[in-house]
């Protein structure tokens, strides 16, 4: 009998069992080690945000407080500017994502169908370029156009993040969708636009969802464009949170609460759209900024 055909059951069973048990313990220990930095961090973040200053300034640190400071959240949400910044974030991310989908989805389709792979080099350049490099010329441009002080510059510059993500993911997606239906529709006399609109687009919905989610997250998280382009009235949430640091250095509770509020929508998306995020990141590995 060929030794490579010996099945594991023919080896001494008690040995296998012990090895399996040790393997299982090792596996769970490894899982614990890997996941705990993330879990502990976000628990600590939540803990900071729910404690009064007395507890946050205590040493040794208070892990589970006697009193919960919901007030930290109430203060952040009630501050008169928070709503403005939240709406700013919604407009900038919403605008930049919508525009990116409008131009990026057809572009991804066109590039995939033309097999114009060389055009991807532009996406690659965009991927490599530091966000600040765009800011210097575009800052001047917006100044000349008199747009500073409105949200328009931020919507436009966020396209630097969202458009490459959408194009890249859509190229990849349209390359995998079947051509047969499209060819049949063309033979039946449909225009290319009709084929795109009624045949290719409906099939591409999952790909669009992936592109949408990633564009939203990376635009929402963007910080560098805002600190240069945003004025007092046009800050997005990440910039607003950063500015809170300089004002109250030591009020950790409200700061942590604000930080958690800003990142909460993204964390929620991560949990509920994990499949799309993983698919998009491993296929595209495109991050903005």
């Amino acid at each position: 009998m060929n030794p490579s055909q010996v099945s594991p059951s023919q080896v001494n069973p008690s040995q296998i069992n012990l090895r399996q048990v040790i393997g299982r313990i090792g596996l769970w220990l490894s899982v614990f080690v890997i996941v705990s930095p993330a879990i502990l961090f976000f628990l600590w973040m939540a803990s900071l945000s729910l404690k009064f200053e007395v507890d946050n300034a205590a040493y040794p640190p208070v892990f589970i407080p006697d009193r919960i400071a919901w007030k930290n959240y109430a203060d952040v949400l009630a501050s008169n500017r928070f709503l403005t910044y939240f709406v700013n974030s919604l407009i900038v991310t919403g605008g930049a994502t919508t525009l990116a989908l409008l131009v990026g989805v057809p572009a991804g389709y066109g590039i995939a169908r033309m097999a114009a792979h060389k055009s991807a080099i532009v996406i690659l350049i965009a991927r490599i370029t530091p966000g600040l490099s765009y800011l210097i010329p575009l800052f001047l441009l917006f100044q000349w156009l008199g747009l500073l002080g409105t949200l328009v510059p931020q919507i436009i510059i966020h396209l630097v993040v969202t458009v490459p993500i959408v194009i890249w993911i859509m190229i990849g997606y349209f390359e995998t969708t079947p051509l047969e239906l499209e060819e049949a529709a063309l033979i039946d006399g449909a225009t290319r636009w009709q084929v795109f609109r009624h045949v290719a687009l409906p099939i591409a919905k999952p790909g669009i969802a992936v592109a949408f989610i990633l564009a939203v997250i990376f635009s929402w998280n963007n910080f560098v464009f805002g600190i240069v382009l945003a004025g007092r009235e046009t800050r997005t949430l990440p910039v607003a949170v950063y500015n809170m640091i300089s004002f109250d250095q030591l009020s950790w509770g409200p700061l942590a609460a604000a930080a958690l509020i800003v990142t909460f929508p993204v964390l929620l998306l991560t949990v509920f759209a994990q499949r799309q995020i993983v698919a998009g990141l491993t296929a595209g590995a495109v991050k903005g900024g």
């Binding site: 393997g23 769970w28 899982v31 890997i34 930095p37 993330a38 961090f41 900071l48 946050n56 409008l102 131009v103 990026g104 057809p106 572009a107 389709y109 066109g110 590039i111 169908r113 033309m114 792979h117 055009s119 991807a120 532009v122 996406i123 690659l124 965009a126 991927r127 490599i128 530091p130 966000g131 600040l132 490099s133 765009y134 800011l135 210097i136 800052f139 001047l140 396209l159 458009v163 063309l186 290319r192 636009w193 998280n221 560098v224 949430l237 950063y242 700061l255 942590a256 930080a259 958690l260 800003v262 990142t263 993204v266 964390l267 991560t270 995020i277 990141l281 296929a283 595209g284 590995a285």
Partner: protein, 291 residues
């Protein structure tokens, strides 16, 4: 099918790309050849901005910081991410949910994360020094001391971006056929032997891609450094990107800033080229597609 007829689909995006990616680059190169300060007239100065870079001690120091920061921020996530991928490749209860938690750090808003890390780094009240004290390690100054600031920032960067390496390597592991593992198991190979002689060679292309992406992101890392230290204490954690910000948007020396931006971009391309040279068989398209 005649290829040109797909052009109308691409034109709108082309206009956008020209306006926000190509135009800024061309304009940046032009600006870098000028003395261009906000509020004063611009004059053409040729390559003098570039010459100024070569004798700017703050820039040279920033290049050094960037290199150290990048090297550590590539290696640590690669090692930990590979380990995490091997673990997440196993089957266990709650794997999907735990993977979701594991990738949270890289999706979370960097500034929000940075803020909480700053609190955790606090020398007197921070939870990190408390945790160290539990195991008998003396309190550290973390980001508040020039010698420990870069390693501390790398700790945050590693915490944040190990998940991306994990996802890419996990994709690689999923593509490995099961036969080599079956025969290795029968031959009684140890876990380490299996990893070293079967898994590692097979996931090498994926590790390379992950390393390349990590390099590109770590070199231009901004949010974490800016929000936690702004390049400090002193200039101990000032990387090229942070220095670029100061030059362009604190001193509004846009011409010089543009020169830094150009050199910075070329440096990233050069680093990528070196990595490619080290692994010639990989192609640009594979890097970008991540597969």
């Amino acid at each position: 099918m005649r290829p040109p007829s797909y052009w109308p689909f691409v034109v709108p995006a082309l206009v956008v790309v020209l306006a926000i990616i190509i135009f800024p680059w061309v304009f940046t190169i032009w600006m870098s050849l000028n003395e261009w300060k906000v509020g004063s007239p611009t004059t053409f100065v040729g390559f003098s901005n570039y010459l100024r870079l070569t004798s700017d001690p703050r820039f040279i120091e920033a290049v050094g910081h960037t290199m150290v920061y990048t090297l550590l921020s590539v290696l640590l996530p690669l090692i930990l991410g590979t380990f995490a991928a091997v673990v997440f490749h196993q089957k266990f209860a709650g794997r999907g949910f735990l993977r979701g938690i594991f990738i949270m750090p890289m999706m979370a808003t960097p500034v929000a994360i940075a803020l909480v890390w700053t609190m955790m780094f606090h020398p007197q009240l921070g939870v990190l020094n408390y945790l160290l004290s539990l195991v008998g390690i003396p309190a550290q100054l973390w980001v508040f001391h020039p010698a420990t600031v870069i390693p501390s920032l790398v700790l945050v960067e590693t915490w944040q971006w190990t998940p991306l390496v994990m996802l890419i390597v996990l994709g690689g592991l999923a593509a490995i056929p099961t036969e080599p593992y079956e025969s290795a198991q029968i031959d009684g190979a140890s876990f380490w032997q299996v990893f070293r002689f079967i898994t590692l060679p097979l996931i090498m292309p994926f590790l390379f891609i992950a390393g390349m992406i990590r390099m590109i992101d770590a070199v231009k890392s901004f949010d974490i450094i800016f929000a936690i230290t702004q390049g400090g204490p002193g200039s101990a954690s000032e990387t090229i990107n942070i220095y670029l910000y100061s030059v362009a948007f604190t001193y509004y020396d846009l011409g010089y800033g543009s020169a830094i931006a150009v050199v910075f971009f070329l440096l990233i391309v050069a680093l990528a080229a070196v990595m490619l040279y080290a692994r010639q068989r990989m192609l640009w398209t594979e890097i970008a597609s991540g597969a």
